[in-house]
Structure formats: C-alpha cells, structure tokens
C-alpha cells in the first residue's frame, strides 16, 4: 500500500513516514569523506568491514521507497530486490552462529513469508517471471484473455508471454531461496521454498528462448509480420542466466524419469560460449565484440554450472591452445594505484578504470576457475578437487584493502569508484566479493558466497533441497500452482468414498491435470 500512495501523490522522491527516514536525513548531512577511508584515525590497522554500518544502509533500502533516481530500474524491481535481500543475507549470520549480541535480523520471519508471496506474484501463468509487479498479467483480475478470435491465442500459450524475462526469472528463484525461513523448526522448511513455482513451464519457456546459434534471448515477443520472436541482444549474460535457471530447476533427470522436461541444447550453448572468446583472450558478448570481464564471468560461470568437471579439463574450455585460458586472466587482472602500492583493483576492459562491480566479475570468474581462494576456504563447492597447483592468482589482502578503504562509503554500502556515493548494485557486488575473499577476523565475518550461483553457499544448499522436492512433485504429475484446488480435489475424492485411495480416481481428473 505504501507504494501505491507514493506513486499517486508525489512527484519528488518521498521518503515518507517510514522509520528509516531519520537515517536518510542523517546521511545527507554526512558528506562522503574526501578519501572515503573509514579508518583514518588508525591507519596502521588492517581495514575491516563495518557490518552494522552496512546493515544500516540496507535497512533504509529495504523499508523506504527507493529515491527517484532508481526510476530507470522500474522494469527490473526484482533485480533490486535481489541485491537488497542477498546483501542482507550475506551480512546476517545463520541462526546457528547468532549470539546474544547479534542484532535482530533485518527481515523478520513474517516479512519473509510476505516477500516470498510477493515474488511468486511475478510468475507468469506459463512459466518465467516478470521483472516488475506493474507488468504482471493478467492484471488485478482484469480478464486480458477475453479478446476472442485474436490470432496466436491458444490454451498453452496465452498472450503476453513477452512479459516474462529470463533475468528476472533467475532473480525470482534466487530470492525465493534467499527468503527461506531459517528459523523454522520444521526440517522440511527449506524444501518448500519453491512451492508454487511452475518448474516444467519455466523450463519449457527457457528452452524456447534459445536461438539457433545456441545463445539465449531475454524474452519472447510477438512482432506483427514476424510472429513469435526471441527478443534481446546477443549477450553472454542471458547464456549464464539460462544455465543458472536450468541448474536451479532441472535437476539430474533423465528422459523417461517422471520429472523429466526437455532440456536446452547444451552443446550448442557451449559452442556459442567458446566461440565468444576474443583475440586478446577474454570473452565478449558474442564473437565479434570487445573482451569484457562481465562477459568473461558469465561465460566461465555458465560453463561451471553446465558441468563442473569441464573446467578441470583444459582441452575442453579452450580447444585451440591451453595457454589462451591462462592469458584470459591477462585481460582480467589489473592494478590500480601508485607503483608498488599494496592495493589491487579491477577493471572490466583493457585500459579502462577500476570499478567495484569488476571486483566481482573478475573475482567471481577466477573463483569459478579455482584461482581465487578465500582465507577460510575449506575446499567446498566448485573449487573442490582442484589440482593443488591452482593457487590464488590475486593477492586477496590487497584487493580487500582497496575495496574497504577506497570504495566503501561512510554511510555504508559501496560506490562505483573511489568517492562516489553508494548504490544498490555496487553495494551488493562489494559484499559479494568480500564473501568470496573471506574475512580477516570474527568482527567482519560474512556468509561465504558461491561464485557460480551468486548467493551465499548455504542458500545453494536450500536450492538443492527445494529442487529435489519440486522434481519429485513434478514426477507425481502434480502441479504446484494450484495447491489449494488440488487439496479440494483430494477432499472430494475422499468424500466420494474412495477411502483406501487409488483406483477410484475418475479418468477425466487426470486430463485436467490432477
């Protein structure tokens, strides 16, 4: 409701009467310090992440409406929600590690429940998710399917499928897992986080987004004169996202298994990814563009998610010459700062300046390759079983130092470049990369972060459990969308006198999907 009020009544960023307004005001008074160093009084000390300060920043992001500058993200609110919830999760210790001094989690159990419901509200009837609640169809009970006689309308392909978007589908799934109720006594709580997700529909829709060359678009669209068409650029991001959605939902099912859904063309996708390597040994959005660290991350993480073993085989990743792979780092690793300085930053393209988010794109790519190991790396996850010679290629302490002294902002959060104000995007990536690098001491301990799925490692565990349940349910031929209706059908059957169960189900029930 708060949102509606604001949308209707104001023309300037209104921070409303939310509790965090006070903090916004305080923050306005605090101008960014000239060098943005948080530890000017004690320069000798190794910088650390001031967790309460960052939590304060995220607190105002989660409660108050975001200021007007975020309007250009109106179509991608699920992405913003992902940055917010993910950051808060990274900063909040799991229940088992909480002590008496740990502050109350920023998102209460009740809030999580409501937020999960809100995320599910974005699901399109035929699968996939829409980026913003302002584009959810059918809208508010308005029947948008009443235009009878319109071409291209059939039961399994309702109109307005073009609203579901590949990026927001991944963000929605990640959000559902991030919003799992960790305090629930019920051991099955984690398994239930995907309840309501149309697994089969989403996977089928995902497949329909793949192009001939193996790449993925972002949405399906109807263009007059062209019919169904895959919209979106030739962009490595969509390829990565496709592999992540597939990893999250598909599971290890084989043809003939009950939960089986037709897969995307993995070989073609691999082919597309590998062909997008550039002459200077990086990756681009496609085979003809400039190497870019963001796309390198997407390419490498996609290959990781498709099959983790592939990356250990140098002949797989870069057929022409194994040395290309090593040199891909060449394009990635960059220094910034005076000669011999003990701070390391990353840029995204050759001869460009450093930016907080490239700490993630470069660091994440290296971590997927097993070349970035955190302080407390215990060998779990994708880096498991790497040959021992793969050591960290980046000096972690130097990278941490740059991030914490130059990019961190006094009000919490991270900016794009030294001295710039924090925003959701860079603040999240700053935390994500610290979650990869690990921590110095107990005071800035974060949840460990997964470089492949871009959520904390324990959330990956939640996803696996939830997927297992979804696959099992799909195997039983049950649709999760209409849980309530299904219950009614079962009740009806019982009343009908079936009693013992089985055998009594009328045939037509199956045809209706029950």
């Amino acid at each position: 409701m708060a949102t509606d009020d604001n949308t209707n009544t104001e023309s300037q960023p209104v921070l409303g009467d939310q509790p965090s307004q006070v903090q916004f005001q305080q923050n306005e008074q605090q101008q960014p310090p000239p060098k943005s160093s948080l530890n000017q009084d004690e320069p000798e000390e190794e910088p650390y992440l001031d967790i309460p300060r960052h939590l304060r920043y995220w607190k105002m992001c989660i409660r108050a409406p975001l200021p007007h500058v975020y309007l250009s993200n109106e179509s991608s609110r699920l992405a913003l929600a992902y940055f917010i919830v993910n950051s808060i999760t990274i900063l909040t210790p799991p229940p088992s590690q909480r002590t008496a001094d740990t502050p109350e989690p920023l998102i209460s159990r009740e809030d999580k429940k409501l937020m999960r419901k809100w995320v599910l509200h974005h699901q399109h009837p035929t699968g996939g998710f829409v980026g913003t609640s302002s584009m959810v169809f059918p809208l508010n009970g308005h029947n948008t399917y009443n235009s009878s006689g319109k071409e291209g309308t059939s039961e399994d392909e309702p109109e307005h499928h073009g609203l579901a978007n590949i990026s927001y589908t991944l963000f929605a799934l990640q959000l559902l897992a991030l919003l799992a109720d960790e305090e629930d006594e019920d051991p099955e709580a984690a398994e239930k986080v995907f309840e309501g997700v149309n697994r089969k529909g989403t996977l089928r829709w995902l497949k329909s987004l793949q192009r001939e060359d193996g790449s993925f678009g972002e949405a399906l669209s109807d263009l007059p004169g062209y019919g169904r068409f895959i919209a979106g650029g030739y962009d490595m991001r969509y390829c990565y996202i496709a592999t992540a959605i597939r990893w999250i939902l598909r599971g290890d099912v084989r043809e003939g298994d009950p939960g089986w859904v037709e897969d995307i063309d993995v070989e073609r996708l691999r082919g597309y990814i590998l062909s997008s390597q550039t002459y200077d040994r990086g990756f681009a959005g496609n085979s003809q563009d400039e190497a870019h660290a963001g796309y390198a991350y997407c390419a490498i993480a996609a290959l990781t998610l498709l099959d983790q073993d592939d990356l250990d085989d140098p002949n797989f990743l870069l057929p022409p010459t194994p040395s290309d792979l090593l040199c891909c780092l060449d394009a990635l690793t960059k220094e910034k700062g005076p000669q011999g300085a003990v701070e390391v930053a990353f840029n995204g393209r050759t001869n460009k300046t450093a930016d907080t988010c490239y700490f993630w794109w470069v660091g994440g790519a290296l971590a997927n390759l097993g070349w970035l190991q955190g302080y407390d790396n215990d060998g779990e996850g994708p880096s498991n079983g790497q040959p021992p010679q793969k050591e960290s290629l980046v000096d972690r302490a130097s990278a941490r130092r740059f991030l914490l002294t130059k990019m961190q902002h006094r009000i919490g959060g991270f900016g794009k470049s030294p001295g710039s104000p924090p925003d959701l995007y860079h603040s999240f990536f700053g935390l994500a990369v610290l979650g990869l690098l690990g921590h110095e001491g107990e005071r800035d301990k974060l949840r460990r972060f997964d470089a492949g799925l871009a959520v904390p490692k324990d959330v990956v565990g939640v996803i696996e459990k939830a997927r297992k349940r979804l696959v099992e349910r799909d195997g039983l031929g049950k649709s999760e969308i209409d849980d309530g209706r299904e219950g009614l059908v079962e009740m009806g059957l019982e009343l009908r006198g079936g009693g013992g169960g089985g055998g009594e189900r009328p045939k037509w029930l199956g045809e209706c999907g029950y």
Binding site: H68, L71, K117, P320, T321
Partner: protein, 561 residues
Amino acid sequence: MPPKSKAATKPSKSLFPPTNPTTTTTTSIQTTSSSEPSTEPTTVLERSQQRYEKTRPFEAARQKQGGSSKLSKEDQKGWICDQLLHLTNRLPQASRSRLLGPKASKEIWWTINGTNSIDRGLTKKPKPHSTWGTDRNGHDVGSYTIERFDERIKKRTALTALLVSSRVFRENVEREKRGDLDARSGCPVIVTEREIDDERVRRSKMAALKKELYGEITGKLAGSVEWEDVVPIPHEEPEGALAAIAYPADYAEAMSYLRAVMATKEYSHRCLRLTQHIIAMNPAHYTVWLYRAACIFALKLSIPDEIEWLNEVALANLKNYQIWHHRHLLVEHYYPTIASDPEALAQFAKQERDFLIAILSEDTKNYHVWSYRSWLVGKLGMWEDQEELKSIEALIDEDVRNNSAWSHRFFLVFSNPEYSTPGKGATEADPKCPQHIVDREVQYAQQKTYLAPQNQSPWNYMRGVLVKGGQKLASVHAFVEEFVVKLGDETGEEIRSTHALDLLAEIYAEKGETEKADLCLRRLADKWDKIRAGYWNWRRQCLQSEKKAGPEQPGEEVTVA
C-alpha cells in the same frame, strides 16, 4: 408504542463525547426556548452548529446535558416529540399517517409549535471533517470562514457545470461513432473540431478545479480527449513488496494506460505516442520498447523516421541498452527493403556511420554502440568500405589506448568474408588469411606501440594477429627485444613494457628456451609487475610442467594452423 421505544433507545446509541474543540460552547440550555448564540459564527462549522442548536433545541440541550434523563420533564417530552417528528418526516406521507394516528400527530405538533424547533431542522449535528470533508491539504472544510467557503461552493458549482458539458460532449462522441441522427435536425451527429477544442479547454479547467478543490491530480492522459475510450488499469501491489520506487504520478498514470492497451493488443499512433511519453521518463523499460517496435511494424511506419527520432533519444541516454536493441530490430526490418539497391544501402550505411561517429565522440568506449556497430558491419556488408577503417584509425589516432577501437579493427579486418573461413573463432588460426594483411596489421600495431609502449591494446592486437595468421610469435622477436634491455642484469636492466616481457616469455617458450622464458616471468613477478606476481609465478609453474611433459608440446601449441 413503537415510535416511542425507538425514540427511547436512540439516545443511548447516539451518545458521543463532545467532539469539536473549535466550537464555542454557550452556557447550557435549561429550558426549551433559552439562550440564543451569543457570538457571530466565524467558520462554516460554527454557523451550522449554531443553526443546529437553534432548530433542534431539545436535541441540543440533551447533548449538552449528557443524556435525556438529565432534562426536565417538559424538555424530555419536547425531545421525544422532536425525535418522532424527524423520524417520521423521513417516511412517505402514507406510512407517516399510519404510524402516528391523528391524535398523536396533533399532540406532537402542539408541543413542537411551542418552541423554536422546526421540522426541517438539521437532522444531524454537524461535525468537523465528516460533514464537509477535507480539502486538498487535509484541512477540514468546516473550519473555513464563511467567505472562503462560499468561494469554494462557487468553484464546485463551476466544476459541476463543466462536468455536465463534458458529459454531453462525450455522449456526442459516442453518438457520432454509432452514426446516430440528431433528433432535431435529423442530420447525423458530428463532433466538430471546435467542439473538440472547447472540450480540451474544458478539461484543463476541470483538471485545475479538481486539483484545487480536492487535490486530485488529473494526469495528462486522463485529461486528454484522445484517451477518452480507454479505462486505465491501475497498478496494485500485493503485500510484502520490495524495492518500491518513489516515482512521479505521471509515470504511474502512463503505465496504467500502457497496461490497458497492451491487454487489448492495440497497435496505434496513440500507443506510439504513449511509449514515447514513458520512454522520456524511463528509457530502460524493455517491455515498452518491444511494444513500440510492435506498433511501428503493425502500422508499417517509416523506419528512417523512427531512426531519426531514436538518434535524439540515444544521445540523451548514452548508457542505455534497450535503445540499441530497438535500433537493431529496426534495421533488421528495414534491410530487406533496400538490400537489392546498392546505392540506397551505401547511403544508409553512411548515415548510420555518421551517427555512430557522433555518438562515439560523446563516449568513445560505449559498449552498446560498438556492439551495434560490429553487427551493422556484418549486416550491411561494410567490409570493403574504406571509410569504416579510416574512422577507426581516426579514433586510435585520437586515443591510442581506446581498446574498443582496436577490437573493432580486428573484427573488421579478420572477419571479412573475402579472406576468412566462416565459423573460425577469433582465437583460431585461419589459413585463408592472406600474408599481406597479417604483415600490414602487425606493422600497424608496432607503429602504435612506439607511441606508448606500456599500452596493452596494440600488444594484444599484434599477438592476436600473429595467432590468426598462423605465424610464430618468434617472427616479432626483434621488435619485442627493443623494449627489453639487459634482462636479468641487476644494474642495467631496463624494461620499457611489461607486455613486451610477457610476450618475450612466450617467444622463448615457443623456441623451447625454457630457462630464458622463466627468467622473463620471474623478473615480472619480482620487479616489473609485482601486483600480478601470483599470475606470473603460476605461469612459471606451467612452464616447468610443459617442460616435463616433453619438448614437442610447446611447439605444437602454436603450430595449430
């Protein structure tokens, strides 16, 4: 009896604490006909309250005393009569006389007539806020002065008159659509331009009055004649919403109209204008752009016109991704219409390049623009277009570190179907690539390297060209040595480019001179590029493992061609 019992229960229901702090309370009324209000009313509320007290003396007295039981016997009787009168007054004449017999009626009137009470008195006691409502600032209209209130009433009357005229206009529009005949003249109903203009004026007046009176903001669309027939679908957000954005009312309104037209798949000129309106506020909405493309294709509008409009939008929103995807769609759509006409094709290619040059001058490394440009080269077959290569050279001359320009040059030269094998990746050697092209490009990179030896772009370029041409890295050994003086000599060592040292390590490895290669990498790790020491040391390890694996292998790597 029934009326009496009703009357008797009523007081207990309507007992409420005295509410209005602004009311000036007069001394309590002891008898039916006592105290006149002593002060002139200053606000509307006061005036009405005084009227109420005047016309309903028994009820007013009861409320002041705090219950009918506290009234005198006479007043109680009067109060009951007053209640009955007001209750029965609401009933139709027939049931009124049935309810109260003539005798009872007579008695009531007798009692009432002895007082100031009149049967048309205010039935409800006026209360702040609820009686007149609040104005646009949330203030009680009842607290207005009489003069101000009269002003407001005048405006409300004016608004009502406008609403009626507007209603008539809208009905005429409907009748015109149906083809109705005018009852008087017998001619078909026609809405004239003048009437439309009048309606426009009327709407803006109405919007202004609504805003002034009620704070109701009439959006641009709701007030426009053009959107008359569309019922906007408002955005309803469920509970638990995250990342709400404080956006202007105009945006919310425009989106509600967009939802409405999308629901019916309307592709029209007004939809096109609607997308333009939204794009001006939020140019990053992918759905809006796709809808715009659909409108253009459905209406078969001129693509060059759209591109011209798009140029402005692109220049105003340099970092936008959707604009370039839209342009891509437009050109895909336009290309078949000019594909068979080489002149038109060349003209279009020139026009596009001119714009790309202009926008790149604002941001020379804009990824979206470069990505579109490389696609355009392939689409329009601009491979042999010397202007394309020249404009890239101009950018490199301007900034030799512009890696985007270097990257485009590599694509332009080595993806030319004239001398490249389809399907060969950028990192693969291509036997179809002619020697003179390889030599020309190596030379170009070398020239540019002299300008700034530590600039990585030409080094990467040169290495890429050699691999593409299937040539040994050793073919540039002499050139690389120019940047490396007295390697390994603690006192005289001078490295003019770490990239040279890196390439030199590869050249030595290629030649099988592992020790020398190792020295290059060691010097990089220890002295010249300490920040990437981890990487250089790792390269040294690889060198050792390659050496153990056998002497042929390093050679094999580079002779793939």
